[in-house]
Structures are given as structure tokens and as C-alpha cells.
Symmetry: C2
Subunit: 389 residues, 2 copies
């Protein structure tokens, strides 16, 4: 039957350009990928053993849709100790990774037509989620302000969109793709304008444990009644493909999100829920070792990019560097990235889906060898294009 | 902030009464549950070993959002051989259980306001999914016709709802909660009216391998261009809590469902995807042994209910008996079920959420001992209420 009778909100949105580009270059068996946002580390052994124990114990039946009690208890304690979150177990829903938490949250908080502020550069899935829920994404360019949203920009966006009820903002902190981390002051500065305008905060803190020399703060500290935190174990415990995350929110709202979640997936995989209990009760330091390695790699890349005369947003967290493609290249981000993939078998993520068609995102959740290959490819390409002597 | 500003489609829908009731009675540590629709069998050993091997092999990275190629290949072959499905791997999306496949399908096929026919009694999640997607569920009572939808009922529903564009129907075959299996003729009879009225078929075939003495057919055989099949390993391989399912559909439509799915969950758990490959390549007969046991239990329950003078819908598949609460009881399904739970520590599912407040659903995916306990409790309760001498 005719595709034009399908839901236009689904039909008109593009599939994630990140996954599609990654899939495209994966056809090359020799490709060195620094594309997707996933740790090259393996799941820590004690968590793997917990998953195996769960399988052997036949814990294969339906967990309650909020997630098993032990896991919500463990998440309550773990994140309180880590970041000062103030949520009891019954204010936490276990989700199929951060994505599912975001999806249930977008679906629950807003009504069709509502506006959602998305500071750019941003992970492109936020915009897609706004669109599939028939919301109006309002993109705010933050590059002039070090990729941090300023209160004045919120006020300006409200004024510039008089016909839209702006009811949400997505804060990704630490940021994907820039690695920028909001300071305590920068977050506190946003509080009055968000409170006065009753703007829901979707606070994506999935990279919260990966900061270098700075502390991660959560907007929920100031705005507990209007913040939904999205977090999970994909990055902190290298469990991307296992798909376990959490949504934290005030009573009355989190219950509604739990419902949306139930009708999306029922519940995350039982095996992974039991493994996650182990991660949160005995894996408090799992991220620390990875963080040290990431930081060294970050330093290496910054140094090499600087040598090449390439500029980038100064990163303080996550595992990305968002670099500018030198103007002289006269190639947009997809063309440049495809060239690197074709000529040197190196995959970097085009910046266009994040909002900057003149940038590339380098993930350094990849081996030193791969990072060397990336630097080498960039050097050769910039030389070929006459940017380097 | 105010809950009345949240999405009214989410706020107004109730959480699944099935899960809530199950959770409620689970507070009793002595409860014998015949409530949820999940096998009491464990995941077959060879599938558990495949999951463990996947963990040990560190296959913990993001699978492609459609699901891994091996799994979609295996699903294409397995379901072709089992039920004659005609779908290539690129017409199959791997989902987080059947629920997520249903959710992505509801979201994709319809536009807000569209009508969706739901033959009753029905699994209540369909109605909830229609409501959260701002659709109009139109319930059709099929009890007078042996719980099978008749073509005339489709025509009548269209006439009775002149202001609604009816664009979908949900067929659950074998049925939850009645265990009714559509015959080849009954399905073929529906084809013209569904084709002529361009009605999408959401064909939930999750119990397809569990039929007793009859064959399962799929409406996709007649209506390949307008059917989305939902299936998965929860029932056939006792993998409920592991959460793996599949959506099958025509090219052009399944791609859109894949997108909706991507923005819901990214992809199902990697471990389970690899384990599912094992299930589909070496577990063709896993369901057979379970089916034999279920059939015996079904026969036992039918015999005992008949002795008690209790009527039920004649089941031919799944693992449920949908029994009538004798009129003389003067208790609705929730009151009766709560009484059984309170007095005899036996949990049966109230029929009201399925559309019949004078019925109970007994799941016989439970041990013989538990079935005896259920029969015993029913006997005592009916005696107490003066229905039995």
C-alpha cells in the first residue's frame, strides 16, 4: 500500500546518519573506524561473569517493567554517590540503553507542536526524536560560546519563536560531539531562565564518568522537579551493545515515562539487568582505568591536530574531538570523510549530522594504533589538498 | 511541573493491568502464579551456551540497528521453513521482543486519528498502543463467532464509524487470551474485505509454534503487501525476559518501521542476538517438546473445568484457557481473582483487561503442581460461593 499514507513524522525523518555512514564504510574490511561512540574496551570481567551467572541461574523470565528492584536500588545508591543524584528506586526506570530512555521521555513530556531547544553541535538523534514525536526542534548554535548554552540564548529563542510553546531543552553534558563539560557556574546560570519559563530539562549525562580534570554536575541539583536525567552503563562500563540505561525523574512524571517505556519494550533484557546490578555494586571504579587511557589519547590527538594546524573545540570529557576541516580543503564533512575512508581506510564521523558541515568528529574510544592511523590519514589528506606544505 | 501539561495520550492510558495485577499478587511470597504469559520452561541449554559464548567473545559492541546480518538471515530461513513466510533478510527487523516490534509498527503505519480494529477478547496492549499513538481503537466483539473475526464484522465496523478512517486491524493468531487458532478458510475469508478497504494487518504470530492438532497459517500468505508480522522467540524458545523479536514486512514499509525502531531502542541486546542465531539455526525442534507438555496440561484443565461445570473458549493453541466465571458467583473478574489470590494463594488473570469482565485467563505455562493448585482453589471458591454443591 502507499507509503505516503504512513505516519509522515516517521517517513520524513532520515535514519541516523551516524549509523548509516558507519554501516557504509564498514563494507571495507580494512577500515579503521573512529566513528561510533562506543568504547573499544570490553565489558569488565566481573560484569561478564554476573551475566553468565544470570544465564546459568535461568533468570530468563519477565522482569517488572520498571526494571528489577535490586537494579533500581543499586542505581539509586550508585548515582547518589557518584554525582549526588537524589532519586529513590521508585524514581528510576531501567531502559534499553539511553536511547530508549530518551525516546520514552520525549514521548511523555511533550504534546505535539511543542518546541524543544537543542543546543548545537548536538547528537543528531535528539532532533530526530523531536520530529518523530511531532515536536518542533529549535536548534541553538553555541559555537561562539565554547559550545555551552547561555541563558540569553534561551530567552532569545523564546522571543524568536512566538508561535511555539517551548517546553523542553536537551543538555548533553559532557557533550557529544564536542567533549565540552558544563561548569557548576554555567549550569547554575541557566537555572532561572529554565525555571521561569517552565522548561523541562532532558539531561543526557551518559558521559558523566568520563571527564578529564573537571567535575561533572547535574542540572537536577538545581531543578529536581523539572529535570529528567538519562544515564546508563554504555560508556562508563563499556556496555553499549548490551543496552541498559536509566531514566531518573520526579514522582508523578517518572511514572508516566515508565508507562511509555512499558508500551515500547516491556523491559530491558533480564540477563543485562542482573549484570548491571553487579556493575553498580562492585564496579564503581571500572570507568577510572578507561578514563586514564582516554585522557592520554585525547592529549595525543590534541597535540597532533595542533601540529597539523587543525583547530578543534577544547574537550574536557566524553571521548570525542570535534575538529574543523581547514577551509582551504573546500570539501564538506561527508566528502572529506568519504575521501579518508576511500584512500586511507580510516573512518571519521562527518560533522554535518551534528550541525557543522565543516567539522569531523574523531572518537578516541579506539586503540592508539588506530589513532596513529587517523593522524597519518589526516596528514596525507591535508598534504594532498595542499593545506600542508 | 504540572502533569496536565504532559502528553495526554500517555497520561490517560492506564499501565498494563496485566503487569500491575501480577505485581500486586507477587507481594504474597506463597503465591502460585498462572498469570503472565510466559513459559515455565527455561531457555534451552544450547541457546544459553551461545549467549555465554557471545559474552566470552566480547560481542558487546553496537549491532547494526536492523539487527546483525546473521540473525536476519537465520530468521528469513527459519520462518520460511516453519510457516512459509516469504521475507528476505532485508525485510526483517530484529526488535526488543514482540512488544517493541508492535510499538514501532503502530507508530509507523498510522497517522493520528486513524482507526484500528481490535477483535475482542484481545491482549490489552494493542489498545494501549493505539491510544498512546493517538489512534482510535475500535473493539469488535467476536465471542459469538468462536472468537474469530468475520469479514462482515469488518464491513459493519467501517459502516458504524463513518467519521474514522479505518486503516488497520490486529490479528493475534493463535490468540491470547483464548487460544483460538484461525483456520486457513477463516483467514482466506478475511482477505477481500481487508484488501478492498486497504486495511493494514498487524499479524501477531508470537504463539505460532504452539498449536495443538491444527496448523498455523499467516495472513501474509494472501496479503504480503499489507501485512506486518510480529513474531519472536519469547514463547517458542522460552526467552521472554531475554527480549528478542522480529518484524517482517514489505520493502519500503519495513524500512520505515526500522527507523521508528532505531529511534526507540537503537537495537536489541547483542548477547541475545547472537543467542537467537543459535535458536534459529539449531533450535527448530525446541518448541516441540514444550508443545507436548502444554497440550497435556491443556487437556487436564479442560477436563477439570468441565467437571466443575465451568465453560471456556475451546483452545487450540498458545497456553491459555479463557474461562467464564459462573454467573451465580456475582463477582467480576478482578474481585474473583483477588479472592483466589487472598484465600488460596493462586493467581489467575482477570478477564476484564482482555474485554470480558466475567472471565479469567488461566496460563498453563506453569507446572502440573501449580495447575492442581489452581483447580483446587477454583473448586473451593465455587463451593464457597454456592455454585458447587
Amino acid at each position: 500500500m502507499e507509503i505516503n499514507q504512513l505516519n509522515p513524522d516517521i517517513v520524513s525523518v532520515a535514519p541516523s546518519a551516524l549509523r548509516v555512514f558507519d554501516h557504509e564504510i564498514s563494507a571495507d574490511p580494512d577500515i579503521v573506524k573512529l566513528t561510533l561512540g562506543e568504547p573499544d574496551f570490553n565489558v569488565p570481567e566481573h560484569i561478564k561473569q554476573a551475566a553468565i551467572a544470570s544465564i546459568n541461574a535461568d533468570q530468563s523470565h519477565y522482569p517488572y517493567y520498571w526494571g528489577i528492584q535490586e537494579l533500581r536500588d543499586a542505581a539509586s545508591t550508585y548515582y547518589r554517590e557518584k554525582f549526588g543524584y537524589q532519586y529513590t528506586a521508585d524514581q528510576i526506570v531501567c531502559t534499553v540503553g539511553a536511547t530508549e530512555g530518551l525516546s520514552a521521555t520525549f514521548k511523555t513530556l511533550f504534546q505535539p507542536g511543542d518546541g524543544v531547544l537543542i543546543p548545537m553541535p548536538a547528537y543528531p538523534v535528539y532532533k530526530a526524536m523531536a520530529l518523530v514525536n511531532h515536536l518542533k526542534p529549535i536548534m541553538i548554535d553555541t559555537t561562539a560560546n565554547g559550545c555551552v548554552l547561555k541563558p540569553q540564548q534561551v530567552t532569545d529563542a523564546i522571543k524568536a519563536n512566538p508561535d511555539v510553546t517551548i517546553r523542553g531543552v536537551v543538555i548533553t553534558d559532557p557533550s557529544n560531539p564536542t567533549g565540552v563539560v558544563y561548569s557548576e557556574d554555567q549550569l547554575a546560570a541557566l537555572v532561572p531562565v529554565l525555571r521561569d519559563n517552565k522548561i523541562w530539562v532532558i539531561s543526557d549525562e551518559i558521559y558523566g564518568e568520563l571527564t578529564y580534570g573537571v567535575q561533572h554536575y547535574s542540572l537536577s541539583r538545581w531543578l529536581p522537579d523539572q529535570t529528567i536525567i538519562i544515564n546508563g552503563l554504555s560508556k562508563s562500563h563499556a556496555m553499549t551493545g548490551w543496552r541498559i540505561g536509566f531514566a531518573f525523574g520526579p514522582t508523578g512524571v517518572i511514572d508516566q515515562i515508565a508507562k511509555a517505556h512499558q508500551f515500547q519494550v516491556t523491559t530491558p533484557t533480564s540477563i543485562v539487568q542482573y549484570a548491571a546490578v553487579e556493575a553498580l555494586t562492585h564496579g564503581q571504579n571500572d570507568a577510572a582505568a578507561m578514563r586514564k587511557v582516554y585522557e592520554k589519547r585525547c592529549d595525543y590527538l590534541k597535540q597532533e591536530l595542533t601540529k597539523l594546524g587543525v583547530t578543534y573545540v577544547e574537550p574536557q570529557g566524553a571521548f570525542y574531538i570535534f575538529m574543523k576541516i581547514p577551509e582551504q580543503c573546500q570539501l564538506d564533512s561527508f566528502a572529506f570523510a568519504r575521501q579518508l575512508a576511500k584512500d586511507y581506510h580510516v573512518g571519521l564521523m562527518p560533522g554535518a549530522p551534528f550541525g557543522d558541515p565543516q567539522a569531523l568528529r574523531i572518537s578516541y574510544a579506539s586503540s592508539n594504533e588506530n589513532l596513529h592511523a587517523a593522524v597519518d590519514a589526516l596528514t596525507k589528506e591535508l598534504t594532498k589538498l595542499g593545506v600542508l606544505a
